[in-house]
């Protein structure tokens, strides 16, 4: 594998991890959405680069889905939801920003240690890629756990899923990648529509019962 190809891929997937870390310390909804747009853009570039480097044209479709759906449509839809549901601009985090960042950094270290140890035989390309992808996945999970607000949980889930796409695109010749990215797009659309229809602001304890009742009243 040409060293230049590798360097660019490395740079892009490294930036994705960086963007994941940036997501962790956002405490305003709109800022969070901006950073997520950046996250999706980086993913799109990274997948497109893999498509180019591996000479796998179908990956361009995945890159295009990431660009159109995740970098444009979803942020716009979420912005409208935030406005319409009058969601608080300031996000609460469980445990504060500092400890969360520390946890995030140790998760990145963990995933590098685990993946680089377990893949000595794998080629450099997919090895580094898997390490970064695992880091993005773990950071996404951390974000879901530390946020209570439904919007930021969805963002956490989408960043996690971007990590999966990075892994799948980096696994050379893996079939079904495009189909999987479509499946995830459908899943995310489901979740976003669910938030909107049922006005879910926070998970687990405060679903807005009054609003749900009114909604039922309208339907009948």
């Amino acid at each position: 594998m040409n060293s230049f190809y590798f360097d660019v891929a490395h740079l892009l997937s490294g930036s994705l991890v960086l963007a994941s870390l940036m997501l962790l310390y956002q405490d305003r909804v709109y800022a969070l959405l901006h950073v997520f747009t950046l996250h999706a853009l980086v993913l799109s570039l990274s997948v497109a680069w893999q498509a180019f480097a591996q000479d796998a044209p179908h990956l361009y479709i995945t890159a295009a889905i990431a660009l159109v759906f995740k970098a444009i449509l979803i942020p716009v839809a979420l912005r409208r939801i935030v406005a319409q549901l009058r969601i608080h601009q300031i996000l609460e985090t469980v445990g504060g920003i500092g400890p969360t960042m520390l946890a995030g950094i140790s998760l990145v270290a963990l995933s590098l240690v685990v993946t680089l140890r377990t893949t000595p035989a794998g080629d450099r390309f997919s090895r580094e890629d898997l390490a970064f992808a695992l880091a993005v996945i773990l950071l996404g999970m951390l974000m879901i756990v530390t946020r209570r607000n439904a919007i930021s949980q969805v963002i956490g889930f989408m960043s996690l899923e971007n990590g999966l796409m990075l892994a799948a695109a980096g696994a050379k010749g893996m079939p079904l990648v495009v189909e999987i990215s479509v499946a995830f797009a459908v899943l995310i659309a489901f979740i976003v529509i669910g938030i909107f229809l049922f006005r879910i602001r926070e998970r687990f304890d405060t679903v807005d019962i009054l609003v749900v009742d009114r909604f039922r009243g309208e339907r009948r």
Binding site: V114, T115, R117, T118, T119, P120, A121, G122, S126, L130, A133, L134, I137, G140, M141, I144, A150, Q153, F157, L160, E161, G163, L164, A167, A168, A171, K172, G173, M174, P175, L176, E179, I180, A183, L187, F190, I191, G194, F198, I200, R203, F204, V207, I209, V212, D213, F215, R216, R220
Partner: protein
């Protein structure tokens, strides 16, 4: 019989998919319920034909082998009996106005779609297709759990959705890792995701990557199995959805998720250099059994109670596969089949009981044997079966698990027995309160369809007294496969 000209595997998928599409447009819900039963019956007949038709070579995307054939039959069977129960159940729900005809259209279409997803997962000969179909089945149940549109139902389905989405993601990462582990020896492309070729090359897969892949797969699909500590969605989803869905969730979907884990475990068994999955499965299974057993005591909701019981039984099965000797594997498979029959049978009773009493709260249910004798004694029989009393079949499988592990791991087995005992008394305590005593609340008789429950309980009793030779032979053969 030798050269049967048709391929039942394809039809097994076409029937539920086509009927899902058809039912989505059918306005008359009474007719829809009948068509639902008919479609399930056809699927069941087709699945039986799998036993008779000579087995084809594994195809590009689908395959039938010793392991999945029994789950296919079981799936179609429970799908069929549940559709019978569902026909009676929804009639009552429409009468009291909890479900509207419009929602029912959605309900019936989703029911068939769920069966489609599970059948595809079982038939899949490709780890990518397996993943996609488990995801489909899960999402379908998410929609079904929220169908009553109450705040609790929406909360339950949101929780289920978030947890299972993360689980889906982890399972996909495990799937990708498996592909990467296989790519070097099996070759790039679809070949490296096909079960049949993965198994033939199992010994040459990259060991550390495969171990890591298994951990992710276990976390991902394990969440759907309801293993502690990833079980949080399960009791809520069981309690808030329509009862036929609880029956299918407990009886079938948990099995399908577990089936996926077992498949990956088989892959690991073929490779001598990977981590051994046994201790992990034993630990998770044991933790699940103990946790669920203690949780049974403070339950106030009857469906939640049996949801926790399902968690416990999934723990038992995982524990059995963790022990991993042929006898324990045999018992694990047997337990999967019997638990599925018993638990869905219990949910049939629970559905009728909560309709008869107009409540799912345990405190509102008293003296069922007096007010509704069939329901009361049925619930009692089902409970005795699920806690593993002889002559019911679960006694046999639990006994086999205990005796297969006792010589090698006496202390672990003692802990396991403690869990079983705690669960035993927890369930007896709750259920005897509901079955006996002075009846309270509503006592009007209710229209019950007894047949599905009777078939299930009869099958479980038969298994406990006498297992047919062919069945034993099959279970033994598959247990060998698992190693």
């Amino acid at each position: 019989m030798n050269h049967f000209p048709f391929d039942p595997t394809l039809w097994l998928l076409v029937i539920p998919a086509a009927s899902a599409l058809f039912l989505a447009f059918l306005r008359d819900w009474r007719l829809a319920a009948r068509i639902n039963v008919l479609a399930c019956f056809l699927s069941f007949c087709l699945s039986l034909s799998l036993l008779a038709v000579p087995r084809a070579e594994p195809g590009r995307y689908l395959m039938v082998d010793d392991l999945n054939i029994v789950f296919l039959v079981l799936n179609a069977f429970v799908g069929f009996t549940t559709s019978l129960f569902s026909a009676g159940y929804i009639q009552h729900e429409v009468e009291i106005g909890r479900l509207t005809p419009r929602l029912l259209r959605f309900y019936h279409a989703m029911y068939q779609f769920l069966l489609f997803g599970m059948t595809l997962a079982l038939l899949a000969n490709n780890i990518g297709v397996l993943w996609a179909s488990v995801e489909t089945a899960t999402l379908t149940t998410v929609l079904m759990v929220g169908i009553y549109r109450t705040a609790e139902a929406i909360e339950a389905s949101w929780k289920y959705m978030m947890l299972s989405s993360v689980a889906i993601a982890l399972a996909l990462f495990g799937t990708t890792l498996t592909y990467v582990a296989a790519r070097q020896t099996v070759g790039e492309g679809a070949e490296a995701m096909r079960w049949s070729s993965l198994f033939t090359h199992a010994a040459t897969l990259d060991p550390p990557l495969l171990s890591l892949a298994f951990l992710f797969v276990l976390l991902g699909y394990g969440t759907k199995v309801g293993l502690f500590p990833l079980h949080a969605w399960l009791p809520d989803a069981h309690a808030e959805g329509p009862t036929p869905i609880s029956a299918v969730l407990s009886g079938l979907l948990l099995n399908v998720a577990l089936y996926s884990v077992i498949r990956f475990k088989m892959l690991l068994a073929g490779n001598p250099h990977v981590l051994s999955p046994g201790p992990i499965l034993i630990t998770m299974g044991l933790a699940t059994v103990l946790f669920a057993a203690f949780m049974l005591y403070r339950r106030r909701d009857i469906k939640r109670l049996f949801g926790y019981s399902s968690i416990e039984h999934m723990g038992i099965i995982t524990f059995a596969f963790g022990l991993g000797n042929p006898l324990a594997n045999f018992a694990g498979l047997l337990h999967m089949a019997l638990h599925s029959l018993t638990k869905s049978g219990i949910f049939f009773m629970v559905g009728h009981i909560s309709q008869a009493k107009g409540s799912q709260k345990i405190a509102d249910i008293r003296g069922l044997t007096e007010s509704h004798p069939f329901l009361g004694w049925g619930l009692l029989a089902g409970t005795l079966a699920i806690i593993g009393m002889p002559p019911f079949g679960i006694f046999l499988s639990e006994f086999l698990i205990v005796s297969s592990g006792f010589s090698r791991h006496p202390w672990i087995i003692l802990l396991f027995l403690l869990g079983l005992l705690v669960a035993f008394s927890g369930l007896v305590l709750r259920v005897s309160g509901m079955a006996f005593g002075k009846p309270t609340g509503r006592q009007e008789p209710i229209h019950v369809i007894p047949l599905p429950f009777l078939i299930h309980i009869l099958a479980v009793v038969t298994a406990g007294i006498f297992l047919p030779h062919a069945v034993v032979g099959w279970f033994r053969q598959t247990a060998q496969l698992l190693r």
